[in-house]
Symmetry: D2
Subunit: 359 residues, 4 copies
């Protein structure tokens, strides 16, 4: 019997507000043990001292503990991304998966698979070893999602660890960097290259390209680093004939911050009004490192009052919202090796179902 994914995009009143998810659990629309992953776009600064992510995670776990066994609570992938600059709107994306009980739209349809690497040694973080471990986890998650071909994978979210002084000390200082902020970039970058390896976008993995060679990137990786874990958590989204239902996923790459054309092409696949049919948008945004967009100077990297990642999320959020027609968009920053310099991957999950199309 095929599986069927469902997706709940729900508004968040504040980073501790899990009431919309709980309402779905309470009225039976969402079955607790069907929850495959929860993403949250929270309203912090998305940078080092953004505690809205941890607050949202703690709030989620406390709520889930009323519906699931402790072990299940711990293993649901929870991916929080801070930063709703501009008119971006804080929201949850809950993806559930279950056996398709009755006749639904046949597939290939949205498929989800998750996996987790073994805990990394601090010496591995930001180095090729991390990329290889992520590659293996992506392949494992693909298998669980019954996605055979890398071409059918549209989005891979990786949550990965960072380095602290204490962690560096446990391996005698044999680490990629002693700078915590820099380690976040290297860890994201190594994870993205691992996704690239799993999806056959890259063939080999020279250690010195991590964080250095911006011309090497995965078109479907989205990575975030957090202090709360030592393993890499992987969520793979794609399409599989083993799944059914009305949900579909497709992706593209914005070549730069104003590459609306590629997103417009992507949206052309969506039946009906995107504002209704597009159930989720997952994108990465960043400031181009050369300080230019199509030959014109931007000021994101020189602004010492607002970090470049905040500028980029708000601006690219505007580009996307103008095209999609709503503001609950999962736009995240820190796009090392995730799409080209200054651009980034964009995935959309959309519905073929009449009620989602306003018809």
């Amino acid at each position: 019997m095929p599986r069927k994914a469902s997706l709940f995009r729900l508004s968040m009143g504040d980073p501790g507000d899990v009431s919309a998810i709980e309402a779905c659990l309470a009225d039976g629309r969402l079955k607790p043990d069907a929850i495959a992953a929860i993403l949250g776009k929270t309203e912090g600064n998305g940078c080092v001292n953004d505690f809205t992510r941890a607050y949202a995670t703690q709030s989620l776990r406390a709520m889930l503990a009323r519906y699931l066994e402790p072990h299940a609570v711990e293993t649901v992938p929870l991916v929080m991304s801070g930063g709703t600059e501009g008119a971006l709107s804080p929201h949850w994306i809950v993806i559930a998966a279950e056996k398709a009980e009755d006749a639904v739209t046949p597939g290939p349809a949205l498929a989800i698979g998750t996996a987790i690497t073994p805990p990394l040694s601090p010496s591995e973080i930001g180095r090729p070893a991390q990329a290889f471990r992520v590659r293996d986890a992506v392949r494992c998650a693909m298998a669980r999602a019954e996605i055979d071909s890398p071409a059918d994978v549209q989005f891979v979210q990786v949550k990965c660890p960072l380095l602290t002084a204490a962690r560096a000390a446990t391996v005698g200082g044999d680490v990629a960097t002693v700078d915590m902020l820099k380690s976040m970039g290297l860890s994201r970058g190594a994870s993205a290259l691992g996704v690239g390896l799993a999806l056959d976008e890259l063939r080999d993995m020279p250690g010195d390209m991590i964080g250095a060679d911006r011309s090497i990137w995965s078109s479907r990786a989205s990575c975030s680093a957090g202090i709360e874990l030592m393993a890499c958590e992987v969520v793979v989204l794609g399409q599989s004939p083993g799944w059914c239902g009305p949900l579909r996923i497709a992706s593209t790459v914005m070549a730069d911050a104003i590459d609306a054309a590629s997103v417009r092409s992507l949206l052309a696949r969506v039946p009906g009004d995107p504002a209704l049919a597009v159930r989720a948008v997952l994108a990465k945004a960043e400031a181009s490192s050369n300080g230019m967009v199509r030959g014109q100077r931007h000021t994101m990297l020189e602004d010492s009052d607002i970090s470049a990642t905040r500028h980029a999320r708000g601006f690219v959020g505007g580009v996307l919202a103008g095209l999609v027609g709503h503001t609950e968009l999962f736009v995240s920053g820190g796009a090392e090796h995730q799409g080209p310099d200054g651009g980034g991957p964009v995935s959309i999950i959309y519905s073929l179902q009449a009620s989602d199309l306003g018809t």
Copy 2:
């Protein structure tokens, strides 16, 4: 003999960098006494302590003093707007006007007229008296631009004064507000309503609507308040049969921050690729006061780290850049009575000339 407007959109390396304008003056493309107005989008925060506007103005005047008589230097309208959030690009827009010497594209074409009110009494600032003075100045500028019908006016920029404690004291405290920041909003609002009166968008002008009734607005006003003047400077842009040349202007109103549809309709008039043919975009952006965009919460008004005007400029800048295809867009904030709550007027100046269309 008809007049002809020309427009130079020029990159700015920093707020004191007037080299691109000077290069145009030096090589004869721009005649000093043809300069009708200069707009500048500078990279400050666009708020109270944004000194990039004054720095740019000082730099402009010092440079112009090498080409013009002191009186002429003082009377060229210089409109600086701070804030290039997201990937917006700092730039100058120089509009020149001269007799059309030879055969050019016939009009009606872009026309420009300027006027200045008498110095306001501090008691008038932010009150109906200011609106009436702006109304009269707009009509005067229209006459100078040979624009007969209000319907042919597409954009009115007003630079207006604000209140300080010292100014309030000179009128014995008979002022609209004692709060300097608030006086900026009231002054912008009164100016916008004055534009609305001149353009027959409003019929009367109850004093208590200024800054209070957000449902009353002009569709073509763009106002900024500054400490350096006591009069209101008005720049009117529109189309007139008395002008010729390839430049045209058109405008619309964004109903909210993601109203791409109205801008797409506007751009449909432009022949060829907007990225080439659109010579200037002039827009206002602001956060909706109810904290929502199409039913979804935004966080701009609650963010105590980044002011709402900065969020709004960056985000709406993204919406517009995705449509236009470049980032030198004159998006300014503080849109009291300038378009609907959360939306704002958008004007484009575009060219019919083959060389601007990539043909």
Copy 3:
């Protein structure tokens, strides 16, 4: 048998880090049911979108739930203040009270009492009714602390509610203001005036002075507004002969942001090195409303990148840290009617115990 207060000042690794408190509970130094109040200085922005306070509160309650009955968890006053600007250090202050079992330093010593008002009607918030309710709660808390004379009260912390649109609607719009941020100031101000009434600093309470007449203030009030409650929670600290032990409390008022002299006088009472003997510093800081400190201009109110409250906390934190010799100082902002305009109350809790004096 007299009571005895003890105080634990404990470092906080992040707003969710309650491990230092739990360590005290685990090893028996702190008895769960002796906890009288917990204050936390968290590293958020201390303004509207500071979620570190809610995150810290949630983390505390989750931890306390492992040691106390649900009702007890709910009733412990938890006062979170955001903002550790400059070198201020995030920390907890846990105050415990219990029967003095054995012979200790005789009193009068530090005494603590708490009380809570009935839930306020939204119509009462920011109005004299709130002040009267706070006055009554302060008197109740004084009685519980066995402090007879208002002169023996040194510090009163009030946590009070704010207005939201929804709350205003429940009373048909009969509220002091419809602006949420402004309601926080009015609520803090009304609470402070209530403290002033209870401590005989004020005699009457004209409704129109709240938030308006900066010359009226309490010298020992410290108030913060939060969305999570509708009542006012009061914590009174002072000295009482009914309490014993080595802890003492004293207070002063800084006349302006650089009034080190008054704090130096206060510290003169402390035996030994303040860096050791001073167990806690509780202070309010704010930018003077006239933009001046002793005739010299400050820029806190004009800075649109950093809120004035953040500037004030960091700067006054520096003044105090230079005098006290450490950086775990509970400096909070938003000082309406809490000390003079631009200044604020300062209380110190210090120890007479040899081991705290480095002797």
Copy 4:
């Protein structure tokens, strides 16, 4: 005949407000050709995109051009430092030097000397070659100031260049770093080490210590990097028997951000009330790199909303203002090799003159 220095500390209404200096020139208190150096503390963010420094400099030069020959205008050292966080007050410090015409307080008294290095090659910036050039310029300025012994130098201000991509290209990429922000730190650090060499604080200058070994520092260097010059401008302040008058200078080093004790010792030399007698305070502030002050965590380095330099200036400004009694303090950030990690040099210029002492 000995020389005599005078010092004018003057308030600044905004970064373009040079009126207070012009008033001194206009009424003869300050002779144009006596101006030896002008320092300005402006209200920008003190970081990369702080244009208040350039605006102040442009305003100064335009004003000075009315009193001095063009060459003289160009050669007066103008040292602008951005950032008046907390209650720090924007101000100018004008130091003048002239022949002592009549009998004044005998020396040794405040002496000033300036020098400038040859233009640096981009390859030299941030490397030992820069340090050696600065060392030579400091020695030259000392000779001009008639200061024989390095022990009599109390403060050396160095304004030094930074690297840009264009500059790096001119030397085929043979540069210390390609990161502009990083080059500012390396340039400041190399300059500081050059001061240390000139003052016999250091003996040798291994290239790999620049920006790396925080244990090596000068106790009297204060360095800032700017894009507008390729040479290093040096201003030396000290005491010399060749100078007379009531002004004296002394210096110390704060060991950390709350080291008030060392400043208190320094102020003990000042006759009378420091708030009157101290004519100028020149200090460096920075966040300690280990994230701690006396064992307690600070959050300056993790705050992605406010840069650490802004936190440090406001906080250390508070420490100093509490001691000195006023807020016109020249506290600047970016203290690589300028004092110990987390601390910094502090110099005071004070007066022995009765009228400055309130007597």
